[in-house]
């Protein structure tokens, strides 16, 4: 009965959320966010995460009136960037965003070789919309339940959740687990700079008073993502020739694509649902979701040989999974205070600086904020979908903005943004230094997701660790004191063991292959 009541309560809450999201200023913020997201999505040199990071200081000013407007703006950028990257991939054969790399495989071939750019674009937009819509429905019903469950968490359970988040980053998806752990250590270290909140002792300040209040994660993330990405793309911009296709999405394209979507509706729905689940895991946002979606579509297809030649399933499945994963990545951020992707980690940093604490209490203490955000996800995707269908030629023009204007503009906005947060030149220098650090980490293939997640979660992880130990009188067995924390810690251990198991298995396979090879050679000699 209770479950039924809370199920129906969701509709009332969502109605309230729409009332908040549909306020004129919030609609304006959503529109601005979506358009900015589309612009940065189309531009290959700047990603959605970077744009969200650069906008953080501005949202502080907006959040003074209402934090809901601020989060709607940032989330709008995320949704816009998800769609915007598609246009560059399909029409220019250049990925506008990391999550649209996978569209180069079938999007550009469908547009060029088979001469259907309108269908390629419409396929991607429709699949994105369906994927995001399904994911938002899941968000609506799933997040509240997760938050309600999380309300009973004590410090040990919360610490176990954080440990499992870090373990997920290391165990699943990390190309080099050692580099991922190193980045987590670096992030935790940065988060511990400044006064210790429990004892008041200064840590890692090296006598610098400017560091006593700690290193704010906003200038760090602006540097890592905003400036770091600009420098990385500057190095690659000498690629030269850019192939361009011109296109608009006509009514005939939409009708044709709708027919194609109906044929693949189960593929789109399945990849969207799997993408959503994948997105809720820490560190696995839209990029990982898009590759997962493509892999599944190819695996399930009867015509595997069509992939890479303009197969529509190769566009729809990754797009549905990517958008769904992006929406999913906000669920643990809102319900547990654990970001699901680098972009949601930056949005979570925003919540902290607006004075909100991400986690289960948000649903009760900032009811309008959460439901306004959820409603805005529905509206944001609808708005992006309509703008994309109508405005492809206009959006493709963005690619013509010269880099001689765009690069200094982004750097200046990053610097001013970092300064305006605390009116501090130290933050400007931190941004510049971390811009160089971010560029170098990208170059040397160190993952940025574990770093930014660790910076954002560093304080909470330490707080829950120490509060748990205070409660237990210093005994670490408290982390195995309840069934939930034990389960989470064991899961974390399993996840941490995965790279080791993979390495042993690969070594075993290599050994077997060598033995087989030697036997063959031996037989041949005999």
């Amino acid at each position: 009965m209770d479950a039924l009541t809370s199920f129906f309560n969701v509709f009332g809450d969502l109605g309230g959320g729409f009332a908040t999201a549909l306020q004129p200023f919030n609609i304006l913020m959503l529109f601005v966010g979506v358009v900015l997201g589309l612009v940065v999505g189309v531009l290959p040199g700047l990603g959605g995460t970077s744009a969200v990071a650069i906008l953080l200081p501005i949202t502080v000013i907006i959040a003074r009136t209402d934090p809901t407007s601020a989060v709607i703006l940032l989330a709008g950028v995320y949704w816009g960037a998800l769609f915007g990257g598609v246009i560059t991939s399909i029409l220019f054969n250049i990925p506008g965003e990391p999550w649209s790399v996978v569209l180069l495989f079938d999007g550009f071939p469908l547009a060029k070789r088979r001469g259907k750019p309108g269908v390629a674009l419409a396929s991607s937009f429709m699949a994105s919309f369906v994927g995001a819509f399904l994911a938002t429905i899941m968000f609506t019903f799933f997040a509240r339940a997760l938050a309600d469950a999380a309300l009973s968490f004590g410090f040990p359970e919360l610490f176990a959740v954080f440990v499992m988040s870090f373990a997920t980053l290391i165990g699943l998806g990390a190309e080099s687990p050692a580099k991922a752990v190193m980045m987590i250590g670096f992030g935790l270290l940065l988060a511990s700079v400044g006064f210790d909140t429990l004892t008041g002792a200064p840590r890692l300040t090296f006598g610098q008073t400017a560091l006593l209040s700690g290193i704010s994660f906003v200038p760090v993330t602006i540097g890592l993502f905003g400036i770091g990405e600009i420098l990385a793309s500057a190095e690659e911009s000498g690629i030269g020739f850019v192939e361009r296709l011109s296109a608009r999405v006509g009514l005939a394209d939409i009708i044709e694509t709708f027919g194609e979507l109906r044929k693949r509706i189960w593929l789109v729905v399945s990849t969207a649902l799997i993408g959503f689940w994948f997105g809720t895991l820490p560190g696995h946002g839209a990029t990982a979701g898009s590759f997962l979606g493509y892999g599944l579509a190819r695996q399930w297809s009867k015509n595997k040989e069509d992939f890479g030649k303009g197969e529509i399933s190769g566009i729809m499945a990754p797009q549905a999974a990517a958008d769904s994963a992006a929406v999913g990545s906000l669920v643990p951020m809102i319900a547990l205070g654990v970001p699901g992707s680098p972009t949601s980690a930056v949005i979570m940093a925003g919540l902290f600086i607006w004075g909100l604490t991400p986690g289960p209490l948000l649903f009760t203490e900032h009811h309008d904020f959460v439901w306004g955000l959820i409603a805005s996800i529905y509206l944001g995707h609808l708005l992006t979908f309509v703008i994309c269908l109508a405005g492809v030629p206009l959006l493709a023009l963005i690619m013509r903005i010269p880099y001689a204007i765009l690069t200094p503009f982004i750097i200046l906005i990053s610097i001013i943004g970092a300064y305006s947060l605390n009116n501090s030149m130290t933050d400007v220098f931190i941004t510049v230094v971390f811009g160089l650090v971010g560029y170098w980490l990208r170059k040397t293939k160190y993952p940025l997701a574990p770093l930014v997640v660790a910076i954002v979660l560093g304080d909470s992880t330490e707080k829950t660790l120490r509060q748990s130990l205070i409660a237990s009188g210093g005994s670490p067995l408290i982390f195995f004191g309840s069934p939930l924390s034990s389960l989470l810690m064991i899961l974390a251990f399993v996840l941490l063991s995965l790279p080791l198991i993979r390495a042993v298995r690969n070594r075993g396979r290599r050994g077997m292959a060598e033995v087989a090879e030697n036997e063959t050679v031996g037989t041949a000699i005999d």
Binding site: I61, L189, L198, R203, T407, F409, N423, M425, R466
Partner: protein
Amino acid sequence: MILAAVAMVDSRAGALVDTSGTEPGGIGAGFYPFWSAALMFGCAVVVAATARTSKREGPPAFENRAAALAVLKIVAPMVIAAASIIWLGFYVVSALYMALFARWIGHYRWVWVLALAIGMPVGIYIAFEVGFRVGLPKSFLYDQGLLPF
């Protein structure tokens, strides 16, 4: 590795579990940064050892001279601009920065260079000082009453 080692040395005092009962929960202020740094240091050693024993040769620092130059062309003005803000303020720096890129990288005609050099600071002023009411640092000439920004 060096960064992690420095952090470990700096926070070594609170690194171990305190059994005397003076620290809450048995761990002091240095425990968390020390072990974070130790984690980083340990992994840095693993990464360095793997790179050293690997048969594969790593990629060069830069693909070619042009790539290194492209990065340097952004890094050098950015560092100089950030350092100059203290004396020249945001408005003068942003004007010079936009003009530099427009002329040096974009090879625009002087009239466009001038338009960008004026347009950017005006845009920043309207957006930040008027719109968001954020006072940005002004130049030393402003302090002496010689310039309005």
